[in-house]
Point group: C2
Chain length 480, copies 2
Amino acid sequence: MARDERGVTPQSEDFSSWYNEVVTKAQLVERGPARGTMVIRPYGYRIWELLQADLDGRIKDTGHENAYFPMLIPESYLKREAEHVEGFAPELAVVTHAGGKELEEPLVLRPTSETVIGEMMAKWISSYRDLPLLLNQWANVVRWELRPRLFLRTTEFLWQEGHTAHADEAEAMAETLQMLDVYEHVCRDLAAIPVVPGEKTPGERFAGAVKTFTVEGMMRDGKALQSGTTHYLGTNFAKAFGIQFADDAGRLELCHTTSWGMSTRLVGGTIMTHGDDKGLVLPPKLAPYQVVIVPIARGDQAETVLAAVRELAGRLKAAGIRVHVDDRPQVSPGFKFNDWEMRGVPLRLEIGPRDLAAGTALLAKRLGDQGKVAISLDTAPEVLLDTLDDFQEFLLERATDFRDSHTVTVDAWEEFVAAVATGWARALHCGRPECEEEIKAATAATPRCIPLEAPAESGSCVRCDAPSAYGKRVLFGRSY
Amino acid sequence: MARDERGVTPQSEDFSSWYNEVVTKAQLVERGPARGTMVIRPYGYRIWELLQADLDGRIKDTGHENAYFPMLIPESYLKREAEHVEGFAPELAVVTHAGGKELEEPLVLRPTSETVIGEMMAKWISSYRDLPLLLNQWANVVRWELRPRLFLRTTEFLWQEGHTAHADEAEAMAETLQMLDVYEHVCRDLAAIPVVPGEKTPGERFAGAVKTFTVEGMMRDGKALQSGTTHYLGTNFAKAFGIQFADDAGRLELCHTTSWGMSTRLVGGTIMTHGDDKGLVLPPKLAPYQVVIVPIARGDQAETVLAAVRELAGRLKAAGIRVHVDDRPQVSPGFKFNDWEMRGVPLRLEIGPRDLAAGTALLAKRLGDQGKVAISLDTAPEVLLDTLDDFQEFLLERATDFRDSHTVTVDAWEEFVAAVATGWARALHCGRPECEEEIKAATAATPRCIPLEAPAESGSCVRCDAPSAYGKRVLFGRSY
Ligand SMILES: [Zn+2]
Ligand SMILES: [Zn+2]
């Protein structure tokens, strides 16, 4: 912490300090006044907006419509689904007074909206013709966190939550897996996080779900981050809230429902997947500024150079590149270079009088090959678009290599312990919750998921030697 | 209320019942389970999304950046600005328990965010180089309402709130008026509401503001709806939260701040400005579906007609028109016509086998000239784009005529009473709060605004004969 003001603690020394320093110095986020809350600053919020715009498009393209449900939920609603209330009760924030009076029934701030949406679905659905009902909501939710971490676990966070109702299990399961696929693509295509999609073991399921699926990403400290989850809720919430429909023969049936969510947590995941000791490294698709141009000239030449820089910026913008000109007079070029490296801008251009005379600019990448290269001002838009695509791809490949080199197939317990100390272990497991608990107590590792794509395999549990469950290996790791 | 299920109470009979029935039957919104809350259904939320996308673009084009601040605010923050807490205290909802424990300090759900944003601005601003700081947030807010009305006054609503800090009063006032202009354009250009921009009298100011400006729209019952407000806060919040900057000579100065907001209330305003006894009438720019096509054919011909309808819908979509094909097999064309009239779709196309053979479709407008006209399928995209533009303009003109014919310049008290019974009165007023109160007690009318554009005029107060204030006439009306 006694480092120079502009640097950060190296990841290898203390990943957690590195993270906290980077998110603050890059001006992404800060602690809010109330315990566990966060203030998302414009630079961080822009990342969320880019993510949101893309994900919202995918949600609509798959036939869902946005709606909005109240944040304040009568406390009694949560109690209608037994497992659900048990899972969420410890995290609830409760409004007891309003309008200067004590409320007759306390209202909880939604930790998730299955209950209030279930209540409304029951009113809206009467016939098979009303199905499927495909809803999504963008909202804030509140879960009281004991150990808050900016973006990763905050008392209030932003997310989308999809809620759908279907006529049968097959349709609801298809929806659950379809949205998992959407999440996988958002992680890979936008955040350049090569997540592993899989099913959660029973002990890690969402409170009230029959099946929970997840996409798990590996952070640069080898831990796993659950980056999006989808749930097949069976008829649990349909029973609790009376979500029924008349089938084509007029018989009343319970709906099968699903829910799925992705949150501001993914911003934290992006930072921990790509960042390094110089600061953030942003994938171009989520970078508020993809290219920053630093004009380098003093005195007489300053104006000429700045004019040329603005003209170039205009052309880059017209080509669809998010570009920013750093013309701050009060700081040096060196300060600017460090600043934009800290803030993770993928590409930097420097232009001085000599570059201008030569019709070129110096291009520096945030990561990858070393050194600066001169590029022609004329062809800059095309060259930079290509370079941004390459950079996006490079980050995904780098993260994939990192993940693969930190994931080990293990059969012996000692191997397991070693693997989860620095990354993930692929192991056979008996499926017993007590055995999961023992593993967690011994290593802090938990089953992250049963990967969807994995070869059939069976044998004995890596921990207790009992016969393995699931018919394939389970991915274990420490997690956020 | 004993009307047939598909109709609504006429506006002339009971405007309030008409409104409540229309918003429900058009599937825009419903009451939520907790008192005063609302559920915005997909059709209503889509209107909000269209509004939001446009307004967000205008906010960004004027140099503001989006951010996100916590919803939970320590109770003590609100008390730092005396007028502010006095204004909002009766409407606060308070979280007293969280995570299974009683909180040391209660947290209020933001009724607006001047306090928490003021606290952060004080941290972020140190030099004149940090100014202006131009922020905006899209968020939910909570104000406990005694008489909730869907969209118009709900316990929780959605809005954007802009918050800016400036070096001096002139800049802050320019910002306040700039955003008022943005709001006026959003109302006119999107919602086709010919709002009157003006300043609030001291008694109607935002709690903590030095000046409050508003855009006021006239609803079809002659009442006024405050559709957006902007506030010049002077140095009130800067003093309370320590928002200071060093000027270029190094002297510490207080910032001048502003705030401005527009909310889901405008959806209600759009409904009450254009709707009629058949239901909603949506301006094309805010219509989730601008054109609905109803195929009319049975038996063998159904498939041929539906194929042609889909092909046409594809071409309309490609032309940028939001189009919907109503192919519900279980309801009749007549039911569909009524349904889409209730839901306010601007244009309806009917296509049957004979139309198809003639290469035409029958076009019906939701409002305006009577009867259906045949249009050519070939040129349908261009014709419909033009017709939508005309329809948007027609609604604005119609609303302007309505407003103007329901606004009377009055000098005598009896004229005033008559004018505010059915619309607005332009009157000279003394500016005394007690006189405003007397007028309100006698007529339910309040000063809506001192219009920005009005001729200089003075004389004696319409109520008490004291000398008039403000140098111009004040607009009075009953309001929501
Ligand atoms: Zn075991
Ligand atoms: Zn008077």
